[in-house]
Symmetry: D2
Subunit: 370 residues, 4 copies
């Protein structure tokens, strides 16, 4: 059986396209997945040469509509600067395309809500990044927790930061910032593991008000560091720490504290390096190495293509993306006025149980997990 | 030269007296420090036997005033349940005694303020626990930061938790809780390293509403988990995570992120196990082992005795203790109403520089460190 | 029931007496074990003051016979320089005393054989150091191996070294050296775990021919580094690496490789820090923390006293000590002429099974473990 | 400038060709290095299909001479079972080809000596695997040692083992075994770092006499575990431990102990994961992460091609390969008769100093490093 190639149109041909997504596409092609890049677009005309070297002499445009509305595109891959994500994804959904949109799916909740609504009516799937729930290590941790291996979840921490990019001034302008760029991983990871959030507060700050970006000094106009507090069902509290403020760390990405044990994801949640599990009944730390050291954070594209070609629904949902965005935007608001806020949206978390497998019996009273 | 023994009166003869402080006193005596226990007090009459086995047949009372007002007591060691700390310390200061009071120094700010005021007029020193700033590892970290080894501090995290005591119902009643019992270490550590806090918010929760304590089921009436956000000068944000919710962890106690490196305290801040230092200019993690693996968290008593006998001022100040308490109490308030609060008190942080040593020049613009 | 104190006579009052064994004796006394030091001896007259400060004004002599032959001594503790161990232990056994002799029990096999023979006829127990088999971590590892948790043992490594003492010229003279001083731990550990050795070869060298010891330059006249190869039953090969050549390391003390897993002792075998266990069927490293971080390497003295007072046979046997010595002496010979040698002695290894517990069934064909 | 492609003929199309060397060749091609595979050979006819899928429809033969003598081959890549390495490499050199021969270069010293001689007269370079000296981490360690960062080298250990292949019966037949297959890495690493060996002894054993290989039970006819002792100049002793006996380990691959510090290679020497450095003057372990996590152990092929195209001499020399082989063969002999042996060959170790850089002055008296 020969599969007709799924045709990808790329909008935004910067560093994320040049490296990671190109590798992902080549990798799929090497594995025999029927996929091709048919169109590309970038506001910078010099990007055309980059595209040509990677995908041959395909139509290139400065206007995203040339991609989004093209008949020879099945999937629109949105890799632009953050503020453009929402409008392009909307146009693509309206045109009936499948959409993989890099994080955040939008920089305001209205646009994001519109995307979620559109995705219900559109022929196309909407896959908001990040795709951390596809990582084998993430899924192993999910199973451990939901099988009851650490008892009832009681508290959590997550961390993701670095020194921040030295390119892309928009990272430091409104609509940018480490929360949208980095913290979003932790937010999606935690809500995927613990379920929908109920309330949020935060402190945000600009610890380094001036930077040199793309060789030029600039004033930072977003937060560059944040601690976000999230309340889940069952009085479970988590904190997400993120910032363009960290040179290095030696801590787990995610720590989940339960009544009978602890589980910690090593590495970062965009690039897990295995996990550590403490169970009171074992009385030893168990170190599980990374099962897939080459798992790429661009794995959502493979997942989307497989769902399209296999006609199955993606594990990653627009509602989860929206929920994460609401948490982050309300965290930023709380960072400004110091007032905690209720989270209004909800979503159905993914399940990674094997067929017939169920939530551990002793967790069934847990209201989060009906 | 022969020193007249400094006479200690102990108020509260529970587990903390039986083990750690008894060891500390014996240790001092073995080292030839002139110190003796002359009086003790506990509401439980059976404690008298415990005292007798440790310190001989000294006067024992159920009423703390018998200790506090005694002529043959120089130092009152306050080791009772938390809510009694403040009143006893006050009475002891009023009687002109030196006071070491376990944490927290009081459970309300009014009493604590009164203690600070009293300590200014009293002949006696007031030493509020915890004594973490006396730890050699803590001081090594302080020096690293203030010598500029990680550049300008930008962000921080701290953690201290465990499953919680299975004894002492008051740990789970108003005036108890992990913030006063455990988080106080992190709060004192961070403010000692970063200076006075300006603002605080928090989420607090009761993740396990029922417990078995002293063999009996009880309803938990305090928070048993908390994440506290603290804003320092220069837009430095920290989070303190604490809870009677953690079985085990493998993370640093304290993480300080700077513009040129990271420093992390290993172990817990009541029992450090060395530190790790990343400096961009070195490009490697440097692992510094614990220099004093037997450093006891009761070290404040040794310090107090040495200050009394040597007639020098303690490094640990009532003002630092009050400042920590204000942070914790306002965190609890914020945990109730979701609203961040300004911190009104301030204090002069300890300095561990060698003589003539100064703050690293490139940190001098840092307003915290005038 | 009141126990008559067991009376200890100490021969050799250098650093090992001053610190570790004094602490051990005080510790026993604090625990209420009936034990007292009644006599001491050292060739250096100034040691008398040291003894007096620790144990009061007891008889002190320059001649070990004054201790060994005294009526008010039950246990002779031999802590002299290595070459004197054998003759003093012999005299003590001949006088019917119990003997704890520091390692090595003798520096030649003839003397050691005589000690073993004497111990069979003497009223006194002979306990040759080191006492590593008493460590809870050692015993936990022994159980893991003999319960079959790593399958059939196939190969092993052990390591113990440091920079070497800056005191005691005899460490660097014939009868000294790192094999007798340090490697002996590994040799006793491995034979305790794997059973009697059958053959040995080695390379030995003097990597630093000159040293400053006790403030004076000297020529090193023993090996200061060695790798010893040991063949056990069932074609199991082990290597012991030792030297006064190591500044620091970050490796396990002992590594045992089995057909279904690996077990590694952390720290050093004189001071274990827990162990790590890999089992293929678990697929994760399991980290077991040290159960008794304060376990002292002088623990043999406590064991000897308990055996005397409880009238039970010590776990540590003269035959095991002799076997270890034969391995070391033949390793030194092989180091000189490059020729492997058979080991002629044997011994019955200790067993740490709980009552009724037996060797794992799948190991029963293992001839070592009949 | 356009380079004419260097033409590779592959002899031996088993697992090592299918995976690692194919990736290496594709990687070079992706980087624009002018290289192509023009011929292949394997005794198994079904290998032709494998070759075709990777390199297109090139001439394929069962007879290695069809590759070795072909006019359209510049480089012969010898990837057969171990016993065939020597004869094929010889024929290739005689035909004037460049040769990369997998380890060991031969299974007897006579053949290996012939190869070394031939390589002096042949137009072709001879590159015996392994290529560990090309690893950036290896070179970093080399520089640390030779710049004097750990003082004078005093002693060393190395380890490389695993459970052994479940395919290829020849691994367990004469000419196979873990020493040739795995230990060779340690031998080449240590001699590269410490210089030529002077003497060797060993114990070798067959700890598991029966195995299932390629689905069939077989009797193991080589050693499956070995500890090899090596004496270097200046009384430096090292041990190499290897075996098809290890399920997992958590130890460094290589440990070098110096008079002022220790350096340890993490991971395995075929796949380093950075290194750890202790220096007494720093007083902390320094952890250097792997600079090139994707460094492939097949890197020798890239190096050979670059040397051919750039007309420079390879860093890897036939003499180093021969020296390593002499160590291993004499270790096997010593394993049989228990007698240490002199090593007769020598070689000039590689140098990784930057231009004008020299051996640390305080190491100059070190005779190894004239």
């Amino acid at each position: 059986m020969s599969q007709k190639p799924t045709r990808i149109g790329i909008v935004g041909c910067g560093s994320v396209m040049r490296g990671p997504y190109t590798r992902q596409i080549k990798l799929m092609q090497n594995k025999g997945i029927a996929v091709e890049v048919t169109r590309a677009c970038d506001v910078a005309p010099e990007a055309q040469q980059t595209v040509r070297e990677r995908f041959g002499d395909i139509p290139f445009s400065a206007d995203y509509r040339a991609v989004v509305e093209s008949d020879d595109v099945d999937v629109v891959l949105v890799l632009t600067a953050m503020p453009a994500h929402g409008p392009i994804a909307r146009a693509a959904l309206q045109a009936g395309k499948h959409v993989l949109v890099e994080k955040p799916m939008a920089v305001d909740l209205e646009t994001a809500a519109e995307l979620v609504e559109l995705s219900k009516r559109s022929r196309g799937y909407l896959l908001p990044a990040p795709h951390v729930v596809l990582s084998p290590t993430y899924q192993a941790i999910w199973k451990r927790i939901h099988r009851g291996d650490i008892g009832q979840v009681l508290q959590a921490r997550a961390l993701y930061g670095w020194n921040g990019p030295s390119w892309g001034q928009w990272f430091y302008q409104p609509g940018g910032g480490p929360l949208f760029d980095l913290g979003v991983y932790n937010v999606i990871s935690l809500t995927g593991l613990l379920g929908p959030a109920k309330r949020v507060t935060a402190m945000t700050a600009t610890a380094r008000p001036e930077r040199v970006v793309d060789g030029e000094p600039m004033r930072v106009e977003t937060e560059d560091s944040a601690h976000v507090l999230i309340e889940f069902d069952n009085s479970v509290l988590a904190v997400v720490t993120t910032g363009f403020t960290m040179q290095q760390y030696r801590c787990p990405a995610i720590e989940i504290y339960g009544s009978a044990g602890t589980i910690q994801m090593l590495g970062d949640d965009w690039d897990p390096e295995g996990y550590e599990l403490w169970q009171n009944e074992v009385g030893a730390w168990q170190l599980y190495g990374e099962t897939d050291p080459n798992w790429p954070w661009t794995d959502g594209l493979r997942h989307l293509i497989e769902c399209i070609q296999g006609d199955t629904r993606p594990i990653i949902t627009p509602e989860h993306g929206y929920h994460g965005l609401e948490i982050m935007i309300k965290a930023q608001e709380a960072g400004r006025d110091g007032q905690a806020r209720a989270i209004e949206s909800t979503f159905t978390p993914p399940s990674f149980f094997d067929e017939h497998e169920q939530l551990a019996k002793h967790l069934i009273h847990d209201r989060t997990n009906k």
